[in-house]
């Protein structure tokens, strides 16, 4: 793996050269707000605080899982991390380079090193393009190969994701959901990225097909030394594939820990309820399980609650929770949680 950032002379924040021992991606106090407008003049009257002060580090070769309820900002964080969105505030370092506000040619160069796999294999592929065109497009954009070399590369990518290379001239509608997801993965891999954001890559697939894709992603990771940010709402899948898990709620990270640690000893009350809500496919376990059922719905990201955002649903909330934002605090071995009255 190259120790040089993709951006050449881009602003360095490390005083020495970046190495694979440093975080591949490092996000600090990141905010992404979307304007809400109203009236005939479409004046901005408020903002959706989709991502609202996130700190997260992702090491080379690891998989960080990102879980949370729909609308809590997972996709927005993922898109910002690979600069498909420009953040409102905060900082993103990639291989030691500040990419927060990168534009033009340098942003294009960055795209070679990062990719995204989307949830919906139906919507994310252009129905008028053949599979060869779909996988070949990023190769053309970045002038990576031409002619026969390009064809070989496309076929190789299809083989790598478990598709028959003879499929190059077929169209997306001729494939099943799982096969389309493989095409999406082949396209993401075509630029040989080091970092991939997988945004709910298996949510739209049949249960019996999900394991095929999870195993494929794991195999590709070790083969190409990939680093993943793996977004999903299914905590069982996230725990299976991730080294560490970040739990998000209303634009903020509430807890980060290794999967087993998070499951065995959650500190944040939200994590506790989330874990308790995940059904386990074992009737013996299920009948013995204690259920902590969260009341109410998620609050609005336009006007998030003061202090701790979870306090409106939190069974442990006290006065102080409304007054101050709890910081992410250490609980030993890479375990952090943001709560004034944590679970023990």
């Amino acid at each position: 793996m190259s120790s040089r950032g993709p951006l050449g002379e881009a602003a360095k924040t490390l005083t020495r050269a970046w190495t694979t021992a440093d975080p591949l991606v490092s996000v600090s106090d990141l905010k992404v707000w979307f304007p809400v407008s109203s009236g005939i003049l479409q004046r901005t009257i408020a903002h959706v605080h989709a991502v609202d002060g996130v700190d997260l580090e992702i090491k080379t070769g690891e998989t960080v899982g990102l879980v949370g309820e729909s609308g809590c900002g997972k996709s927005t964080l993922g898109r910002a991390a690979i600069r498909l969105l420009e953040p409102t505030a905060g900082k993103i370092l990639f291989k030691g380079d500040d990419i927060t506000h990168l534009r033009g040619e340098r942003l294009r160069a960055l795209r070679r090193d990062m990719a995204m796999i989307f949830q919906d294999p139906y919507a994310s592929l252009d129905p008028r393009q053949t599979v060869g065109d779909i996988v070949g497009e990023p190769i053309d954009i970045h002038h990576l190969a031409k002619g026969k070399e390009r064809q070989d590369r496309i076929r190789e990518m299809l083989r790598v994701v478990g598709l028959n290379p003879r499929f190059v001239d077929r169209y997306p509608h001729e494939f099943s959901g799982g096969q389309r997801q493989r095409v999406g993965i082949a396209r993401a891999l075509a630029v040989e990225p080091s970092f991939i954001v997988c945004d709910e890559p298996i949510s739209a697939l049949d249960v019996s097909i999900q394991a095929q894709i999870i195993n494929l992603l794991e195999r590709l990771q070790s083969k190409f030394n990939l680093t993943y940010l793996f977004i999903a709402h299914d905590l069982s899948v996230v725990k299976h594939i991730s080294n560490r898990i970040a739990v998000m709620y209303l634009g903020k990270i509430m807890e980060v820990a290794g999967g087993t640690q998070l499951y065995k000893r959650p500190r944040h009350p939200y994590t506790g309820s989330l874990l308790s809500a995940i059904p386990i496919p074992d009737p013996v376990v299920e009948t013995r399980r204690e259920r902590l059922i969260l009341q109410g719905d998620v609050a609005s990201p336009v006007n998030p609650p003061s202090g701790c955002r979870f306090r409106t649903r939190c069974p442990r909330a006290r006065e102080h929770c409304a007054e101050e934002v709890p910081p992410l605090e250490e609980y030993g071995d890479e375990h952090k949680a943001a709560c004034f009255y944590p679970l023990d």
Partner: protein
């Protein structure tokens, strides 16, 4: 044995399409006992919804081409449309994955929840509305009297599902069919709705058919389960037994292919290779045979019937019916 409340016998429902006849439900049989929660699990397209819709006679444009649905001594596939409408209003209720499809956006929520009482019990609007508000309160809608004046779009997804459940329960039906009632919801809201369904089942004694593709939901909700594959029931039995020692290779493989939250170590998942079949062009013999790790020569030739295997389970598999235990790496 208790007398079954609902008995589905060799049901066949088909759809005529350009590609040919889709055998969406291809000889499905099962019983629902009074007060129980029965799970129907299977992958997308295996015929769960069409089975439920056929029971309610809402399968159109599909056609029921064979079998019986016995309920209180009558065959529901034979009763008149008027009688069926009355049964749907009083005795059986169905709730869907997306409540918006069954709520009318232009009527106030309370009015809609009260509709079955006006229509099928002949109650006046005021009495029906009072009862609807009470029911909305019982399913956990806060300030029910005020919220009854709101329109469906003013409710969150979880709240809408509560409204649907309230609407289904107003006439205290004997059977409630819930078709993926939590699939569109976040897990914390799913937990709320499942808890409500447990509560409803206990308080009203409503027998419930819970359709889901989530094996965890079945494990936590249902004493008995039937597993469907390609329009057929491949396994049935007490949930404990089916999960502890599945008697159909599909169930067996499916259980090993999903990650568990309580797994102690990272072990590679064991996927089921291949794809679910097309219902227009089913594989010969056992529809699972092209993906089956246990198949024998006969599997691609003859369709196995659903037969007792072991003390409590039914399985449609030549291999387990011959006494072979399912095991493997």
């Amino acid at each position: 044995m208790t007398q079954a409340l609902l008995e589905v016998q060799d049901l066949h429902t088909v759809f005529a399409t350009k590609e040919g006849t889709v055998k969406a439900v291809d000889g499905v049989s099962f019983e629902l006992n009074p007060g129980e929660t029965l799970g129907i699990v299977g992958e997308s397209g295996c015929g769960k919804s069409v089975t439920a819709l056929s029971i309610m006679r809402l399968q159109r444009p599909g056609k029921i081409v064979g079998g019986k649905v016995m309920f209180k001594g009558q065959d529901l596939t034979k009763v008149t449309e008027d009688e069926m409408r009355d049964i749907r209003g009083r005795e059986m209720a169905m709730i869907f994955q997306d409540p918006m499809t069954s709520l009318n956006p232009v009527f106030r929520t309370g009015w809609q929840v009260a509709e079955p009482l006006r229509l099928h019990h002949g109650w006046d609007s005021k009495k029906a509305l009072t009862s609807a508000v009470q029911m909305l309160g019982r399913v956990g809608i806060p300030s029910a009297a005020e919220r009854a004046r709101d329109y469906p779009h003013q409710f969150s997804g979880g709240m809408r599902q509560r409204v649907m459940i309230a609407m289904g329960l107003t006439t205290t039906p004997a059977v409630l069919i819930a078709d993926e009632p939590t699939t569109a919801l976040d897990v914390t809201i799913q937990a709320q709705i499942l808890d409500l369904l447990r509560h409803v089942n206990r308080e009203f004694g409503t027998a419930t058919i819970l359709i889901t593709h989530n094996l965890g939901v079945v494990a936590g909700m249902c004493k008995r389960v039937i597993v469907m594959y390609a329009g057929r029931v491949v396994e049935a039995g007490p949930t404990m037994d089916v999960f502890a020692h599945p008697k159909h290779p599909y169930t067996w493989s499916l259980l090993r292919s999903i990650p568990r939250l309580d797994a102690e170590r990272h072990e590679p998942l064991k996927p089921i290779e291949g794809l679910p079949p097309s219902l227009v062009d089913l594989p010969s013999g056992c529809a699972f045979h092209p993906r089956c790790a246990f198949k024998v020569e006969r599997c691609s030739r003859d369709v196995p019937a659903l037969q007792p295997v072991g003390d409590t389970q039914l399985s449609a598999c030549w291999v387990t019916q011959a006494g072979t235990e399912l095991k493997g790496a």
